[in-house]
């Protein structure tokens, strides 16, 4: 084939342009911290993979934020339950003193103390995390518990003792639905909805904590309240009615007998409170382990998208050195081939 000066120059120019482009790309690879692509066109497969990993990472970050918030809320709940436990111990101590037939006005004072404990329990359970009441079930905007002047414990405005599951009263039945309230959050458990657009419970975390469930509601067969605050409040109320000698009225009702029953009931109820506390603790532990899992997943995703997005600097520098070598070789060849022809040697 006849090779002409023009075609040699054209071919050289094209090759030199490729070598220059190679060096430019290798330079950018180094300057861009080893980043391998800046558009989908550079590497559609890498970019698609990178998008999926970044998207999963963004969701993971949201899950971690939500999980952290939940941990804080449950830590708050746990701390409040600790206080409830302390208050219960105090109430139990006071009630035991009362059971041992104190003389004079001591019983009355114990009654006042127990009423104070009940009140403190209400304050404790009306604790807030951020702007929301922790133990309010699904009504975090409003303080859940209230202790009325006549010693009644109200949960979201309803007398907790009146909440009898067997009641035919529609208002009571509607109020009992509070026990079945949920407030699900997505913490990366495969969150999804069913065909009715309702959350599939196993795919989300129920963040609601119902103080009603923890402290109890309704009355037992003897007509005594099941709610611990209500019991303590009633005990306080009964002891407050003692006379100067420390005797409780027997008419119209035998308050001493009622106090005995309530004292025993108080201890039984605390077992239930403890169980609910354990449930809160176990949910908090689940959140802690989920946090570790999310963190690990986040770290893995970071590692994965970094390896998809970037090459390491050693590779980038090696590529650059090779591109530079190619470029220099192209320059040398051009200098040798293009500068001379037969005409230079004509005399």
């Amino acid at each position: 084939m006849r090779v002409t000066t023009t075609s040699t120059i054209r071919t050289y120019r094209s090759s030199l342009a490729k070598a220059t482009l190679g060096q430019y790309n290798a330079m950018n690879l180094v300057l861009n911290d080893g980043r391998l692509f800046s558009s989908f066109a550079d590497s559609p497969a890498r970019a698609t993979e990178s998008y999926r990993l970044h998207s999963a990472y963004a969701k993971n970050q949201t899950h971690q934020e939500t999980n952290d918030t939940m941990i804080s809320k449950f830590e708050q709940a746990h701390s409040s339950m600790q206080q409830i436990s302390d208050l219960y111990s105090n109430a139990l101590e006071q009630a035991m003193k009362a059971e041992n037939a104190p003389t004079g006005s001591a019983l009355k004072e114990l009654g006042t103390t127990l009423k104070g404990v009940a009140e403190n329990m209400v304050y404790t359970l009306n604790v807030k995390y951020g702007d929301k009441y922790v133990f309010a079930g699904a009504d975090g905007d409003n303080a859940p518990f209230e202790l009325t002047d006549d010693g009644k414990v109200l949960f979201r405005g309803i007398d907790v003792d009146s909440l009898d599951p067997n009641s035919a009263d529609q208002v009571i039945q509607d109020a009992l639905k509070m026990l079945d309230e949920h407030s699900y959050v997505d913490i990366g458990l495969g969150f999804s909805l069913d065909a009715n657009q309702e959350v599939i419970p196993s795919t989300a975390f129920d963040s609601s904590i119902s103080g009603l469930n923890i402290m109890g509601y309704g009355k037992d067969g003897n007509g005594n309240p099941n709610n611990m605050i209500s019991i303590i409040s009633r005990l306080g109320e009964i002891y407050s009615q003692s006379d100067e000698e420390g005797n409780l009225p027997t008419q119209p009702n035998d308050l001493a007998a009622e106090a005995d029953e309530l004292f025993r009931k108080m201890q039984d109820t605390f077992t239930n409170v403890n169980t609910e506390w354990a449930t809160i603790t176990s949910r908090a532990e689940f959140l802690q382990s989920n946090d570790k899992r999310l963190e690990t997943t986040g770290d893995q995703l970071t590692e994965q998208f970094t390896s998809v997005d970037k090459t390491d600097m050693a590779d980038a520098l090696t590529s650059f050195a090779y591109a530079q070598y190619t470029y220099n070789a192209a320059l040398r060849v051009g200098n040798q081939v293009l500068s001379q022809s037969f005409i230079d040697y004509m005399s």
Partner: protein
């Protein structure tokens, strides 16, 4: 031969060597002239003797020197055809690549904040609202602001795509004007070559210029170039160049673009398709065939065109999966506009539905919904609306609704109006919407553009664009390399080489010097005859 005949031989030698040196000089000086075809001198031996009745068998002739027959251009027409075929491929891929590159400047979120990250941000804001913040205005406002940013990003993308489209439309029209100028120039040069042919002039420079124009023309469209003959009468024929547009669907020659000194215009229709106009002479008179009918012309329909012009048309009009025409497979600017519109509308409709209707709401035949299906909670209403007074949401007009902006509408936390303050069933539905697989349908029956999330849809758009770009770039590289090789092959025949011309220079210089030396030798011989003979004894 007479005594002084040898001077003539030497003289022709001098003249032909000088002419060959001139041609060498011309070749060297035009080494960088685009389209220049190297030349060589055609020469033959000049013989004067003939046969005759009284020719003596003992009479011989050395010849009468060298005769210059003409100057040839060294060119291979087959290589021209192959090169121009390849150039139509290069032109086609190049124009597509140019268009896709401009689209890519708009639709590219890699390593920067854009529509993809804004969808992620919006989902994150819903997550924050749901994490024990239901009903808190600050967090609802964060969602509103994030949604507004998303709308603005979609508006920007739509607006930039519109700019790209307008620029491309302008460029397309300019290219058609350039193409018509080129056709006119080829026609004009044909006319000049015709005149030169009639006068017996070789018109080598004009042919070189025409070849450059034909190379250029072949990038615009696939053409079939033929060199026929035109009879001038009395048995005299001259060359006639005919150019037909190749119908890419059949691979055969179609409408005539140039026929000798007549040409047709390329006309752009309102839908950006083009048609070949009637073949006219330079005065605008329609050229008729032997039967008195106009030469066949017409529109270049879908699938018929090929080359840069067709690629540009596809970039301007290509709707791909959004076109009802299954043959329209090119994804041009309209494809990405339609994609963005579909994304914006589907997203806005789904969000609006969640904020106005209860789950399971069924649309009535008249398009309305039963009152029982509507959410009665405070704040229910459309979150998104067009901002240009129209009814259909597009990427260009999507905006948060005035009611949402002014607080009359807000994110509905629960579809139950009597729900407690932390009820978040509807927020969860919003959250789930971002992970929901949605079927994005194309215009053809049963065609699915994408099945996945909103965020995934936009990533898919970028992926489709990236793959189109990458495959077009690969095609372009292949064609360009092939065209380069063919150009080198053409150059191997037609190009000037300095080594070769240097050698020629010496060769012709030597021949010139030898002929001159011959002249002095003859001079000496004749001097002897004239001045040395018959002087014995003087």
């Amino acid at each position: 031969m007479a005594s002084f005949g040898d001077f003539v031989i030497a003289r022709t030698g001098i003249m032909s060597s000088q002419m060959a040196l001139n041609i060498t000089g011309q070749n060297i000086s035009n080494i960088n002239t685009t389209g220049y075809t190297r030349r060589s001198l055609d020469q033959t031996t000049f013989v004067l003797n003939g046969s005759g009745l009284y020719r003596s068998n003992n009479s011989f002739s050395a010849g009468a020197g060298v005769m210059m027959n003409g100057i040839s251009q060294l060119r291979d027409p087959y290589l021209d055809i192959r090169f121009r075929d390849e150039m139509s491929n290069v032109g086609s891929a190049d124009a597509l690549l140019g268009g896709l590159e401009q689209i890519q400047q708009v639709i590219n979120d890699v390593n920067k904040n854009g529509i993809t990250t804004q969808f992620q941000d919006l989902l994150d804001k819903f997550g924050q609202l749901n994490a024990n913040k239901v009903g808190i205005d600050e967090f609802k406002n964060l969602i509103k602001n994030s949604a507004q940013s998303l709308c603005q990003l979609l508006n920007q993308a739509a607006s930039k795509l519109q700019d790209v489209k307008e620029n491309y439309e302008m460029k397309y029209n300019e290219e058609v004007v350039n193409l018509n100028d080129l056709i006119d120039n080829i026609r004009n040069i044909n006319e000049q070559i015709r005149k030169a042919d009639i006068n017996g002039d070789l018109a080598l420079e004009l042919r070189d210029q025409r070849n450059v124009m034909l190379d250029e023309l072949s990038q615009y469209m696939k053409v079939d170039i033929t060199y026929g003959k035109e009879s001038l009468g009395s048995g005299i024929e001259i060359e006639k160049l005919t150019i037909n547009v190749v119908d890419d669907s059949t691979g055969k020659s179609g409408y005539t673009l140039i026929d000798g000194i007549n040409s047709a215009d390329i006309i752009v229709n309102s839908d950006y398709s083009i048609k070949v106009g009637q073949l006219e002479d330079k005065n605008g008179n329609v050229v008729l065939d032997d039967k008195g009918n106009p030469i066949k012309n017409g529109p270049i329909k879908q699938g018929m065109g090929y080359g840069a012009l067709e690629s540009m048309r596809q970039i301007i009009t290509g709707k791909g999966e959004y076109s009802p025409d299954a043959k329209d497979t090119t994804r041009g600017i309209p494809y990405y506009e339609e994609s963005l519109n579909q994304l914006a509308k589907t997203f806005a409709d789904a969000m609006n539905k969640l904020n106005t209707l209860k789950p399971g709401a069924v649309q009535q035949p008249d398009g309305s919904y039963l009152d029982a299906d509507k959410i009665k909670s405070e704040g229910a209403g459309n979150l998104f609306a067009p901002n240009d007074g129209t009814t259909d949401i597009t990427a260009a007009n999507i905006d948060i609704s005035d009611d949402w902006r002014n607080g009359r509408v807000n994110i509905v936390s629960s579809v139950d109006e009597n729900a407690p303050s932390d009820a978040n069933d509807n927020i969860l539905r919003f959250q789930a919407l971002f992970s929901q697989n949605i079927k994005f349908e194309g215009a053809q029956a049963g065609s699915v553009v994408y099945n996945g999330t909103f965020e995934g849809f936009y990533a898919n758009m970028q992926g489709v664009l990236g793959l189109d770009y990458q495959s077009t770039a690969a095609v372009y590289d292949t064609y360009a390399m092939s065209a380069d090789e063919l150009n080198n092959s053409r150059d191997a025949v037609s190009g000037v080489d300095l080594n070769e011309e240097g050698v020629n220079m010496i060769q012709y210089q030597k021949a010139f010097a030898a002929s001159c030396r011959m002249m002095t030798a003859l001079d000496e011989v004749m001097d002897k005859v004239i001045n040395g003979m018959g002087v014995v004894g003087r």
